[in-house]
């Protein structure tokens, strides 16, 4: 699959240093596959196959980026993310999933992951996504962009029925919506920048702002999806 903004030519200034990566997935075959695909362009510092060992090992080696499977035998990937985020906020998470269910994806994003890609992603795209997350940017797949547009549907919910309504957090700006639509249509950040006549950096800041809203908003759709994964 294609993931927005993961071309190396995007001029994002992604770190040339090799980020330290930790892989959490319950399938050994998948872990070794990812490890070989990442090759020497990142530094794989460890891997784990379940929630408990993952929390212990990540706290021990404090990697730059954790590739986190959404489904783990001992619970969802969001358990790992929320446990680590509490103690070590500098560790960044990129969710990997074979599932396209919004409740899986949204739950792990709300637990603190900075992006989401599906497991069918190509090696080069995955490396790019890892660099992007390591640099503090958000990685949105077209699928995730679609979920967000769905959750922040055009019709604003009436504030009186939602005492916690925060217009800053609970609504997308027109520009953010445009950026998300183009991501969902399969555009890279660079192409979005050209399409909207803005700088690639600006595209990134829009995406980061959407990610923040995604994590903090109390919109019904988001809380419902998260609740279905028993996060809240």
């Amino acid at each position: 699959m294609s993931t927005a903004g993961i071309s190396t030519r995007d001029g994002s200034g992604a770190t040339t240093a090799r980020p330290r990566v930790f892989i959490v997935d319950d399938h050994g075959l998948f872990r070794s596959g990812v490890r070989s695909e990442l090759g020497d362009r990142v530094d794989v510092v460890g891997e784990a196959d379940d929630v408990e060992p993952a929390i212990a090992l990540i706290a021990g080696c404090l990697p730059d980026v954790v590739l986190l499977d959404v489904h783990l035998p001992g619970g969802g990937g969001q358990l790992v993310a929320s446990a680590i985020k509490a103690a070590h906020p500098q560790v960044r998470f990129l969710a990997l999933s074979a599932s396209d269910a919004p409740e899986d994806v949204i739950a792990v994003i709300r637990a603190g992951a900075r992006g989401y890609v599906t497991k069918t992603i190509s090696g080069a795209e995955l490396v790019d996504a890892v660099h992007r997350v390591a640099a503090g940017d958000a990685v949105f797949s077209p699928r995730l962009a679609g979920f967000v547009l769905d959750a922040f549907a055009a019709l604003p919910e009436p504030p009186r029925s939602r005492p916690s309504f925060d217009p800053e957090l609970d609504q997308l700006t027109t520009r953010e919506r445009e950026v998300l639509r183009l991501i969902a249509r399969g555009y890279t950040y660079r192409e979005i920048a050209r399409e909207l006549y803005i700088a690639p950096k600006t595209v990134e800041s829009h995406v980061s702002s959407v990610l923040r809203k995604l994590q903090l908003s109390t919109r019904h759709q988001l809380t419902r999806w998260a609740a279905e994964r028993r996060l809240m």
Binding site: M1, G146, A153, A154, R177, A184, G186
Partner: protein, 436 residues
């Protein structure tokens, strides 16, 4: 999201948005083939302004009476100067090069000037006031007649048919009989109206008017009937042509596509058999059960489910990944089924020709419209350089959207992939929040 046909630096935008429906058409004024009685001016005006065509015609008639015929000249001038829907230039452009036609028109005009002179000499002022517009109208009609396409001539023939009946060789006896009867009725009617006999006083206006009207009906009745019949026949022919176009695009989508696939997979007998079977099933269900191939049945299915179905079918048939993303959902209606069929065609096209390993399919349901974007990162093409016989995009996607009032845009450049944008306005009656 802005205009889907966002202009690009390299000028590779191919805008083919055709809004074929809607209460008002914002394009330039065009005479319309549909609904036309004579030149289609009233029908075109009705379309442009959004008024009912009958109301516009009545306005024309009233204006004709009030202006003592000037409106007739205006109408003929419009017939000459306003291009027919779908034609590039007005008839006047061609008429300017038609020397003989111009000569005839001038000749006819001067004849009418003579008539006018006589009429003024005898003091019939009302005839004189009619003569100018009639002269311009008749001269204009001659030019239209000589320079219009065949189907327009048929319209003029209808207009002047009563005159033709007088001079034509056939059915002359019938015409003479009708004229005799009409003459008797007319004289009787005028006699009654003018008569001063007391016993008839109460009946004057009614009987006289009835007799005069009867005279008009006897002369013009058969002509009116024929106009009505011709209009019905013409409309039926148009409907048949549209059905044929629809059928051609369906056969193209299903049978021709499968045949192309079979040619490409000729080295894989099992796959060929599989394709042929699937096509046979589809064709049978179309021919015998009336379920059209390439269309997704409205009813129990929603729009998003239809998009997913396209994804599954195309992936299964062509072995190329389709990443389908939908935002919002709504029930399917005929317009949205057509949109899905066009989206399917665009997706199949991308899968077959782009060479890209994955095709993105993004669909969004908004309160006012539903849009679909089909994007690939394949080899792309120059939209200007597509040969006319490549029916895929031209007929199936663009025309299908246009027939339903939608809009299709293709954006592509060699080496840069292709994006097809489709949008369909939602039926006003079914507008509802896009979220369920």
């Amino acid at each position: 999201m802005g205009d889907p046909a966002f202009p690009r630096d390299d000028g590779t935008v191919d805008r083919i948005g055709l809004r074929a429906r809607g209460p008002r058409d914002r394009g330039p004024l065009r005479r319309r083939r549909e609904d036309r009685l004579a030149g289609g001016v009233a029908a075109g005006l009705a379309r442009r302004t959004g008024f009912d065509v009958t109301a516009v015609r009545l306005a024309f008639v009233v204006a004709t009476v009030l202006s003592v015929g000037v409106m007739v000249a205006v109408y003929v001038a419009a017939w000459l100067l306003v291009p027919l829907d779908g034609e590039t230039g007005p008839i006047a452009a061609r008429a300017m090069t038609d020397r003989r036609g111009l000569a005839v028109a001038v000749g006819l005009g001067s004849l009418l000037v003579l008539v006018q002179a006589f009429a003024s000499a005898f003091g019939t002022g009302w005839l004189a006031s009619l003569a100018w517009p009639l002269m311009i109208g008749a001269a204009g009609l001659v030019l239209v007649w000589r320079n219009a396409p065949v189907d327009e001539r048929a319209a003029i023939r209808r207009v002047v048919e009563p005159l033709q009946g007088l001079t034509g060789p056939h059915r002359r006896s019938g015409v003479v009989a009708r004229l005799l009867i009409a003459g008797v009725l007319l004289i009787a009617g005028i006699a009654v109206l003018e008569s001063g006999h007391e016993s008839l006083a109460m009946l004057h206006p009614l009987t006289g008017a009835v007799l005069v009207i009867a005279a008009v009906v006897v002369v013009l009745g058969p002509w009116w009937l024929r106009i009505a019949r011709d209009l019905v026949i013409e409309r039926q022919a148009r409907v048949r042509a549209e059905e044929r176009a629809e059928m051609a695009s369906r056969v193209h989508d299903s049978v021709l596509q499968t045949l192309a696939l079979i040619q490409r997979r000729a080295d894989d007998p099992q796959r060929v058999v599989q394709l042929a079977r699937a096509q046979e099933r589809e064709l049978r269900s179309w021919l015998f059960d009336g379920r059209a191939p390439g269309t997704i049945e409205p009813g129990d299915m929603t729009f998003a489910a239809g998009v997913r179905l396209i994804q599954q079918e195309v992936e299964a048939q062509h072995g190329v990944a389709v990443e389908a993303i939908t935002v919002g959902d709504c029930p399917l209606d005929d317009d949205l089924s057509a949109l899905l069929a066009a989206a399917r065609e665009a997706t199949v096209n991308a899968v077959k020709w782009s060479g890209a390993p994955v095709v993105s399919l993004f669909a969004e349901v908004e309160p006012a419209e539903v849009s679909v974007f089909v994007r690939d990162r394949g080899r792309g093409f120059d939209p200007e350089a597509v040969p006319g016989d490549r029916k895929g995009l031209a007929e199936s996607v663009r025309a299908r959207m246009a027939r339903r009032g939608g809009c299709a845009t293709v954006r592509s450049a060699p080496g840069q992939g292709t994006e097809v944008s489709l949008s369909m306005p939602r039926a006003a009656g079914e507008r509802q929040p896009s979220r369920t």
